[in-house]
Symmetry: D4
Subunit: 164 residues, 8 copies
């Protein structure tokens, strides 16, 4: 974790989701975006969860990344108490391949959106947060463009190898 004031909060219902969610942290680190990570369970600590969301903007966060599985209520509940964009990561559980997590996160009612990424796609959640920040930060935007160039170069190198 960085020592500066965090810009992005990464939260999850249990530390058992951390193996998935730490990819979000890694992505943020790659772009030098300070973040914090915490367990904030919608179902086990609802008052603290409400408090976390309610105070997030005033504490300086610019986006919240929330991972949850099954009847995944954390992203949506946070979105209901913060004006910040909330990014939801559907964590796949033992059954149903994350389809329950996906629908529980993405199908939010009018008025309270959650920016949902793919099942298990915590890295993309981190990158999406970077894009949100980069829209207002030319340096970060340049880094994202460079990152996309790198992705291209890697893909091209793979093609090279495949062609011999």
């Amino acid at each position: 974790m960085t020592e500066t004031v965090p810009t992005v909060g990464i939260v999850m219902g249990s530390d058992s989701d951390w193996p998935f969610m730490q990819d979000a942290a890694t992505a943020l680190k790659e772009f030098g975006v300070p973040y914090e990570a915490d367990v904030v369970s919608a179902h086990r600590m609802p008052h603290e969860m409400i408090a976390y969301g309610s105070e997030a903007a005033d504490r300086g966060l610019k986006a919240i990344i929330a991972g949850a599985g099954g009847a995944a209520h954390l992203p949506g509940m946070l979105a209901s108490v913060t004006p910040l964009p909330v990014i939801g990561v559907p964590v796949p559980l033992k059954y149903l391949d994350g389809m329950d997590s996906l629908l529980s996160i993405v199908q939010m009612p009018a008025g309270v959106p959650v920016a949902t990424v793919a099942v298990g796609a915590a890295r993309n959640a981190g990158l999406l947060a970077v894009r949100m920040l980069a829209a207002h930060d030319a340096d970060l935007r340049a880094k994202m463009t460079e990152f996309q160039e790198d992705l291209k170069a890697e893909a091209q190198a793979k093609g090279e190898r495949l062609r011999r």
Copy 2:
């Protein structure tokens, strides 16, 4: 609504769910169970929702029926702040036939169960609440047994008509 202290709370995220949810009220009325009905939105009034759940047991409620659609968080969030049994009714929205509502309600994590009924089955939610009460109330249990006898008689009469 009855004038006595309500035993069951029927809540939903919007009064647009009332056409579905009033079947729960009707069922309770048929059994003489006093109830209250209210709009308690997880996403639009999260603090009030938390308060509703937290105070439910002390106000004398014995069960809560909560209807919700899409990313349906109301039943699960209420279950997280009350020790009472919460009955969840998956309300079908315009798309996906209520499958999103069903999974968002039923797939709760260990520790916080929601008693889920069929998609759109508010009447059964009411009857399930009656059964919960009837387990501790011989009169009500007798009424439920009688109700089941009536269901049988109706079904038998239908068979009669079908056979000529």
Copy 3:
């Protein structure tokens, strides 16, 4: 199994479901709720199943927990012959991830509700039964509230560890 008169019956179609279903028993034991466990197969011993359900209330049971997989008929059939609340646990089989079990249990017709919990969620079935009893038992309700506090404390401790 406890020596006092059981308050909750835990039944399943085969003892091969016991690895799943014993989590319900554990939950009940944690709360000091006396229970019984039995194999009552809807498809292999239908008369005994009907008898089990018909006599459950008179034997003093306050709720029945029934686990079943695939074309899971046990919870619904029991619900049709008892006035007690029946809690259905969708047991996942080798294929389809329990989606068949879930739909076969939850989609009950009007008049005969089953309180359905998540796929494989036998522990939550036990906790739901405790909640039903707790609504009529202040001591048990206090225990459930305490249990919820413990869940919170654990989640907070996990957050602690995650934050360092």
Copy 4:
């Protein structure tokens, strides 16, 4: 209904399923197979349902056609109390397009099969019963072969029209 002893029983949980299920009766009538139709609800008249299934073989029935929707337990429960082949018709309800009905009927455990036809396919249930009888009745088999020839002729005539 015919006046001779019925060979096939057509049952359903409610006469509201009759609009679907009468196509089974029509198919049987076309082949001169005597049948009976009745309302036998698994959930509303479980004892009568068990009795119906238990006595079916002794009453001379050779097959039972059972239509049911949602948590469709009728075909499987009848199969558990009769040695006769039971044909299940998944009746589509208002939501989920009959997928719940299909899975609840077809996914039977080892030992107790149900011969399942397509969602809403009561006519095919009737024709399947005819095939079962025709395997032991040369005249009926000849009729079925003729019926298949007629289907071909109709299809060919349609092709004729399409080609001009």
Copy 5:
């Protein structure tokens, strides 16, 4: 394989389906029903498949059991060229858990039914064939009733063990 004239034909698209399909053979053997097993691929040997179906009744078969996976066309194609009842077994492939196999087999058009059993349920296919025969054979019907009694006894013994 028995030496008498086979009464039931068990066919599949490839011998790689045999590990699934032999459960059907075992069930028939338990009831003393003579059968034959063969590879008859709808997609790899269509003419032979058509021939197999067309001649089945005249060869003395009373029912055909056909297992197939994915775009499972074998059961339905056989049903289109025989007046006999065809029992379809959805064989699960590497992806989709047999849902494609199930729908490809069960959703037959009006006129050409396939008696579909559960995903991977070859044993039940065998038992269903036995029931079809038993409807016309008192001895076999007595055996099936006895078999059902045995299932009950086993289930009861499991309950015994579970209760201690």
Copy 6:
């Protein structure tokens, strides 16, 4: 229908599929590709269906478009008896939104591919046949390129109108 020797065969199981399938014919007509349309039912006229497929290449057809719904066996069966590319159109039926048709057509076993298009996408089936021909016909390829330019021009005009 054109008077020249047809290059593409459009077939379907019933003329009730024609409202869907004629979009394929229209597309072919737009590109001046001669075609024939016929009813060739896999389930109602299996021998004729086999004959149609077996003779298609020798009759000069270069591709076959086959529409089918439910347990849709026509495209796959044709593919098993012709070396030509077969294009499958999943026709949506009353229930399941064509998901059964799609899986029954696309999930073909190794060795026998079907070129599947979207649910109900007969027009795209026609255009896919044109592309197959255009790969070997410079004029047709030029027309397809022009067609794609027209699609672009239309889309641009729509953008124009939307921007005002």
Copy 7:
């Protein structure tokens, strides 16, 4: 459309999506966020689509909202050529209830996220864009908080009416 430089681009594959997508525009208008709307089809004008995405950031856009249905490639393709956050709206088509659109948009590979909202939820796409901007604009954030208060007040008024 506003006259100032647009901050958000709303694009769709066809003006037939406009009835859905204009809800995004309305939401932006309510918050005084300048936007532009255009038809940018991934499949019909791929070069223009690539150009639109590539130039978006330099033209001053801070976010792109893209609606698409079926094999919905527009949001993901735009995300691959811009460093800006792209919000994807799954537009439901005639079949499959938007499930194809949802999966085609949300299941993006690592490196290229799309912020996906609910099926048909164009209004929420607009609100999500506002939140992204509001994280960097105290006034807008205050407006969003106020908007959330209004949602609450409306919900409370509905509860009022329901309670009488």
Copy 8:
């Protein structure tokens, strides 16, 4: 890879798809069809992907095989910039069994078809390309017919073994 001018292009988004996609190459090799294989990522190298598709026909390719997983945009995007037939292979990812890949590839809008094969069916993609070429090449068509005869012979041999 062959040294002659390639007739078929096999492309994929990453070389991690090669284990799946090389089955397409093997099939082409068996028929002596020259091919090329390359990494062409829709999301990581969009400009190159557009270029690849735009130039394919002029370079002499007659068909493109494109494999992709998840939000699989490669086949459809290539189809939008080439007049050639594009064959899409849904690559299954870690979750959802390739259902997302399938829908993202097959559900293309009117005007831009993709010839979709089964989930993971790269071999069939190769065979489908051969069929497209064989329709215009009598030798290749003879080989395909011979190949189909071989499939039959293999299936018959399997039957032989199964029958003893």
